[in-house]
């Protein structure tokens, strides 16, 4: 990569994430060359070698744009979140993890002790000597440290101030390319940045608005899992067929990829515009289409959703109003 002190600096960091966001950035194909042409990439652990101390040595605010993906799961993530905030002019919570917790946020259903127990001492783990990781260890050369788990996974904005949010698990590559284009236009003075706090690289409506499936009146007598329906009508709204599809509460921007491919929306683009609590909106939506007024009948229909909390908060638990289960919250 060219090193040119005059180009604005770009960084991308991953905290508690899977790496899918980085793949999505690389999936922008030739647009990635625009990044290199217009920015000096100073820190991007998956793509280049750089040390934390190099970033620490930079002047505060010297990085123009940092895409931060991943939630804050341990003290290393938190240190880097604060460091990148200090060094960056524009900090983007990039992807579902940084925006709202995503799948790693589902760990907030359990206290940390349970998570560690599951990882190191269950039937699938061969650990006869009950060895658990220690966060510090004395060796002849000195003391070694590994990051300490936080009690809860937190989205980026629960730790530092965030300028923009870019939802998606991962964000769609054409949306990333559009955002990169926008930032380059801003650099050239051809466009303006959106207001601080805005959701970028996504729509302002719901997945249903982008979904080409036919919608009639939704009156649901039974919720069913998609694999239990044969055949699934390829053109009819999935929810009308009794499949719990989360599109009604989910932000648009993905072109309804899952419903178009025959699978229900699971909500990775996060809460739609104006929605405070994703799960609440989904509870409201599902409740409105249940075709029953007697408590027993309603309960029977609701039995068709085997994991209601997981259904409502698959991507959003850490960013929801409650943020965690009771046991995790009490042990925080």
């Amino acid at each position: 990569m060219t090193v040119n002190g005059n180009k604005p600096k770009f960084a991308m960091y991953w905290a508690a994430s899977c790496g899918g966001c980085e793949i999505a950035v690389l999936n922008t194909h030739e647009t990635i060359l625009d990044v290199d042409a217009n920015f000096e990439v100073v820190f991007w652990p998956i793509a280049m070698d750089a040390k934390y101390k190099d970033v620490e040595a930079m002047e505060d605010g010297s990085i123009l744009l940092t895409l931060f993906n991943g939630g804050i799961r341990n003290d290393e993530n938190e240190h880097l979140a604060k460091l990148m905030r200090r060094k960056s002019k524009i900090l983007v919570a990039f992807g579902s993890c940084a925006s709202e917790g995503c799948i790693p946020g589902l760990a907030n259903f359990s206290p940390v002790s349970e998570i560690v127990q599951t990882a190191f001492n269950t039937i699938t783990t061969d650990n006869p000597n009950q060895i658990y990781p220690r966060t510090s260890y004395d060796v002849p050369e000195g003391e070694l440290h590994i990051p300490t788990l936080s009690p809860l996974l937190r989205p980026l904005d629960q730790v530092v101030d965030v300028d923009y949010y870019m939802p998606g698990c991962p964000p769609e590559s054409h949306q990333i390319a559009a955002v990169i284009d926008l930032v380059i236009k801003v650099l050239k003075g051809e466009a303006q940045l959106p207001p601080k706090g805005a959701v970028i690289g996504a729509g302002n409506s719901t997945v249903c608005d982008e979904c080409p499936r036919t919608r009639n009146v939704k009156l649901i007598k039974e919720f069913k899992r998609i694999q239990d329906i044969a055949p699934v009508d390829p053109t009819l709204c999935l929810l009308e067929q009794g499949i719990p599809c989360n599109g009604l509460a989910t932000r648009s921007g993905c072109n309804a990829r899952c419903p178009q491919a025959g699978a229900q929306c699971i909500g990775c683009y996060g809460p739609a515009e104006g929605v405070i609590d994703y799960g609440s909106r989904l509870i409201t939506a599902f409740s409105s289409v249940i075709d029953a007024n007697e408590p027993e009948e309603i309960e029977r229909i609701l039995d068709g959703i085997p994991d209601p909390a997981g259904q409502m908060y698959r991507f959003n638990l850490a960013g929801s109003l409650m943020k965690a289960s009771k046991s995790a919250w009490e042990n925080k």
Binding site: V199, P271, I276, S287, I298, L321, K326, A328
Partner: protein, 168 residues
């Protein structure tokens, strides 16, 4: 825990029946537990589960939802929607390890001041037995417009919904 735990309960009442029931209980000088802070809505069907979770996450120990009896809703059938939301919300709360008994739905007509009073007292005792929920009480002062206001439409709600700091 001392035996003097006083639960904080938020009560959502509908304008047409259950708020009148509460009014009747008051004007009739009926005695009931003072733990409930009532918020009047036009209809129990207006109850967004967000309100319940906002109350619980900001320090309420329980939430009471009241409305007109089934078939007697001022808006024809919106209380059935409230019923469905309530039943699904309880399942979600259970999945999060929160006792579903912390949320209660009570039907009370405008004439049932006594029922409103006795159900309230009963609910307060049920929540007292469950103990404090301890959510959000360490959040520090909250402002009225925290999260629920959308005055500035130029900013997205995802920010409003997630602005609270979680103390480490």
């Amino acid at each position: 825990m001392t035996d003097k735990f006083e639960p904080t309960i938020i009560g959502f009442t509908c304008n047409w029946c259950s708020y009148r029931a509460a009014d009747l209980a008051g004007t009739a000088r009926m005695k009931y537990a003072p733990n409930v802070r009532l918020i009047r809505m036009m209809c129990s069907g207006r109850l967004d589960p967000t309100f319940v979770l906002r109350a619980l996450s900001n320090g309420a120990d329980g939430v009471m939802i009241t409305g007109c009896h089934p078939g007697e809703c001022h808006y024809v059938e919106q209380n059935y929607k409230a019923l469905r939301r309530y039943l699904l919300l309880k399942r979600v709360l259970k999945g999060m390890g929160i006792e579903p008994e912390r949320v209660k739905l009570v039907w009370a007509s405008a004439a049932e001041g006594a029922r409103f009073a006795s159900e309230t007292t009963l609910f307060v005792e049920e929540v007292r037995k469950l103990g404090p929920l301890n959510w959000g009480k360490d959040h520090g002062p909250q402002t009225m417009d925290d999260g629920l206001s959308h005055g500035d439409t130029s900013q997205s709600s995802i920010v409003d919904g997630q602005k609270e700091e979680v103390p480490a």
